[in-house]
């Protein structure tokens, strides 16, 4: 039964990816701003335009171009980027780890901020403390992440220069890494000096991304905790003599975290998709930063490659969240 459910899930994932491929292919072809026109230097004539269009295969009919591209994608060839003149897949895979690491650090910060606030909010439910947390959460959500970025640059970048302002790592450092997962590798290789440098670069962009997410986690988890707090086994725990905070952490948190897990999973995929502006602001060389250049330069193959990889991450994370939901929930595990 499990295998059959898993197969069905794979099919739906494939359909979703195919749908995304079709939509992005059509949308960017309808977009005005022909990439070839962008490359026209002074003096180029109409025949130059035609020649360049043929060079990049843009002279064929839309469906034909789509089939060629899709045929390539299936074999892992996402085509060549027009502006960066390199294979799209290696470009995208080269930049993806940076965005994944940034998003993960942002998620961790959001959990570190959001978790305790949710517990406190649940414990002090109905009081001014909870109202304060709600308003603070609303406030964090009302300011878009890039404006948080601006504030952070002014605070930690200029007034009290503690953290690095741009880039992902200090260029002068000699990086012994063999993959693009710098942060992970620096920890595995016990090079904590590099880890510190990386985190010093990632802290501000990650915090800018984390604040709205922390607000969402706080509000969702608090709501879920409050629903669990009045259940019988929690009342029983109080009678056993455990303090309110102990009761929340030992009894309520796990059962409350489960339903919020799926929602946080969805928010995490939005987070990855949403790093575009913050990466731009902090010149953090993730996928988002490259995506904006791709759109501005109308680099069609690169845009398609980036969007498809984002979609792939989206379906994979959702799969992971659903699997972990089944694992964590004993009833399903033994079901």
């Amino acid at each position: 039964m499990i295998l059959q459910k898993f197969l069905l899930r794979l099919i739906t994932m494939a359909v979703t990816l195919f749908g995304v491929a079709v939509v992005v292919f059509i949308v960017i072809r309808v977009a005005p701003g022909d990439p070839i026109a962008m490359m026209l230097p002074p003096g180029a004539g109409p025949e130059d335009i035609a020649r360049l269009r043929a060079l990049y295969g843009l002279d064929k009919s839309l469906p034909h171009q789509f089939l060629i591209w899709l045929g390539g994608v299936v074999q892992g060839d996402f085509g060549t980027s027009i502006s960066l003149r390199q294979d799209v897949l290696s470009l995208v895979l080269g930049r993806l780890p940076a965005t994944l690491e940034l998003a993960t650090v942002a998620l961790l910060i959001a959990l570190i901020i959001g978790g305790p606030l949710a517990v406190i909010g649940a414990r002090e439910r109905g009081t001014a403390v909870e109202a304060g947390i709600d308003v603070a959460g609303g406030a964090a959500l009302s300011i878009p992440d890039f404006l948080w970025g601006l504030v952070l640059i002014l605070l930690f970048g200029v007034l009290a220069p503690i953290f690095e302002i741009s880039g992902r790592v200090s260029p002068s450092l000699d990086l012994p890494f063999s993959t693009q997962f710098y942060l992970v590798e620096s920890i595995l290789r016990l090079r904590f000096d590099l880890t510190a440098d990386l985190l010093s670069h990632m802290f501000m962009p990650a915090l800018a991304l984390a604040l709205p997410l922390a607000a969402i986690i706080t509000l969702l988890l608090k709501q879920s905790l409050k629903e669990v707090m009045d259940l019988d086994y929690v009342v029983l725990a109080r009678v056993k003599g455990f303090s309110e905070t102990q009761v929340i952490l030992r009894e309520a948190l796990k059962n409350a975290a489960l339903p919020t897990l799926t929602l946080i999973g969805v928010q995490f995929t939005f987070l990855i998709g949403g790093t575009v502006i913050v990466e731009r602001l902090f010149s953090y060389e993730g996928l988002g930063n490259m995506a904006i250049d791709a759109v501005i330069n109308r680099d069609l193959p690169l845009i398609q490659g980036i969007v498809l990889v984002f979609a792939l991450i989206f379906v994979l994370i959702n799969l992971a969240v659903d699997l972990s939901y089944a694992l964590l929930n004993p009833r399903l595990r033994h079901g």
């Binding site: 962008m38 490359m39 002074p42 080269g94 880039g167 002068s172």
Partner: protein
């Protein structure tokens, strides 16, 4: 799907060939003379300076001029000097060209630089399939013959600006042997040239680490290691320099430029560069009426725009030729005269109550204060009876509309021209058939035609000055200002600005 391992960006050959020990500099120990960090405003899309969109992007030429050499070098004041070819010229009958190749020069991988490299580079640029955007110029010479370090070739069709192009876009010499060995992809991963700096480490959209080339024919540059951080956001660049993490930056808002150079420890250089802001006029609708065009030009107080919007950093211009250009004629003047503008509009039946209406297109945030300048101009026009509706579009859309000659009656654009030749400024901007021009006036076409092939340089320049005068009188275009490039640097570094707008680390020395 395992992540493909990252290609080793540290170039093995670099350390081996130079015998320099690969040393990891501790972050803090950045001695003044040793290490220079620049916060640059645009990313470097590709390492091939002769193909693709980046080849025609003036702002990235600084990277290329640090790693590669041009056939003919260009001094900071745009004048020409011997580069990889020390002597060049046409035969008397203009049927042949000859070049003498510099000797004793080596590529960064130690291999010798020879005449083959020059010929191979020229022939490669001339081939259509290479994708060189200036192919139409390079294809005008061919069948080269090499005799030691002297090259001769046939002129297939005379191009007076051929040698000027050798110091401008795509005019770079690439290593024939190395390129053919590693191919395009290999070259992108590990580019080598003959230039003052070698590529030590390159992380796309992140940073570029350059190491001084000890055997550079023009003398080893002052700074041993140069780090160029790609910081596309202006506020972040300001923060980089203000917090001392970078020593040099450029293209920041003029207000911030004033504020930073007032701080102790920071200084600045703001010199006019070969880039002008202008408004294209399209010969459609109301723009066919000369009164409207002249009124539009005369009602713009360019001085006030520069003083107020650009904090005084900029030079009003009346033709598409900047003072440093070959065909500049300061006798051509278009006065700021709003009353005359109202009179002209009245002649055509327009007034503040019954304003002439047209649309003006502009980018927003592509050039400093581009959108604000158009807003200010629309404000000035409103006072004399011109009602212009602003439409913002991306630079990509601008290029497409211009190539298809569908720009609005007025469209703001900036025009770079680092070789200062009239053909690549007034020429391509105003010559009807060129995909870059918008005005298709036959009178301008007839005046320009004979100049393309004019052999006598003096008569050619005078011809172009006449064209500029005619355009100014007929108000076929609205030249606005010559941009000034703001460069902020720590007091410990002195910077020599280049009028082409390229920021060259090789010209920087510790103060």
């Amino acid at each position: 799907m395992s992540w493909t391992p990252n290609r080793r960006h540290i170039l093995g050959y670099g350390a081996a060939a130079l015998g320099a020990t690969a040393f990891g500099l501790p972050v803090s120990a950045r001695a003044a003379g040793e290490e220079l960090t620049i916060a640059y405003n645009v990313n470097l899309p590709s390492w091939d300076p002769t193909t693709g969109p980046s080849a025609v992007n003036p702002t990235v030429q600084g990277f290329y001029q640090s790693v590669f050499d041009q056939f003919i070098a260009q001094k900071p004041d745009l004048s020409f000097a011997p580069g990889l070819i020390t002597e060049w010229g046409w035969s008397d009958d203009r049927s042949k060209i000859h070049m003498t190749v510099r000797e004793g020069v080596t590529w960064h991988d130690g291999s010798p630089f020879t005449a083959e490299d020059v010929v191979w580079s020229l022939e490669r640029a001339a081939k259509a399939e290479t994708g060189n955007p200036i192919q139409f110029v390079w294809s005008k010479v061919g069948n080269f013959s090499i005799d030691g370090n002297r090259i001769t070739g046939d002129v297939l069709s005379f191009e007076p600006t051929l040698f000027k192009w050798m110091s401008f876009l795509t005019g770079y010499v690439l290593p024939k042997a190395y390129y053919e060995k590693v191919g395009a992809e290999g070259f992108e991963a590990a580019p080598i040239g003959t230039g003052p700096y070698m590529v030590d480490k390159f992380e796309r959209n992140a940073f570029l680490r350059l190491k001084a080339n000890p055997n550079y024919w023009g003398g080893k540059p002052a700074f041993e290691n140069v780090t160029i951080k790609f910081v596309t956001d202006a506020a972040s660049r300001v923060a980089e320099v203000e917090s001392g993490r970078s020593q040099v930056t450029l293209e920041i808002p003029y207000e911030e430029y004033d504020r930073l150079i007032a701080k102790d420890g920071l200084a600045g250089a703001a010199t006019p560069i070969s880039d002008i802001g202008m408004i294209f006029l399209n010969d459609i609708d109301v723009m066919t009426d000369r009164n409207v065009r002249q009124a539009a030009v005369m009602s713009i107080d360019k001085k006030l725009l520069v003083d107020r919007l650009l904090r005084g950093y900029g030079k009003p211009i009346d033709t598409l030729e900047a003072p440093e250009y070959a065909a500049f004629d300061d006798s051509i003047k278009v006065p700021y005269d709003p009353d005359k503008a109202r009179a002209l509009l009245a002649e055509s039946g327009y007034s503040t109550d019954n304003p002439v209406k047209f649309k003006i297109q502009t980018t927003r945030g592509f050039k400093p204060k581009d959108y604000e300048m158009i807003q200010a101009i629309v404000g000035m026009w409103r006072k004399v009876g011109i009602e212009a509706e602003i439409e913002v579009y991306e630079i990509a859309k601008h290029f497409e509309l211009r190539a298809a000659d569908q720009l609005a009656p007025a469209a703001f654009y900036n025009w770079g021209n680092a070789i200062g030749d009239p053909t690549t400024s007034t020429g391509f901007a105003m010559y009807g058939p060129s995909p870059h021009s918008v005005w298709d006036g036959q009178d301008v076409i007839d005046m320009i035609n004979p100049l393309w092939g004019e052999a006598d340089e003096a008569r050619r320049i005078d011809g172009w000055k006449a064209v500029s005068k005619h355009i100014a009188e007929q108000a076929y275009v609205i030249p606005l200002i010559q941009y000034v490039q703001p460069i902020v640097h720590a007091k410990g570094v002195n910077v020599v600005p280049h009028i082409s707008g390229a920021l060259l680390p090789a010209l920087m020395t510790p103060a």
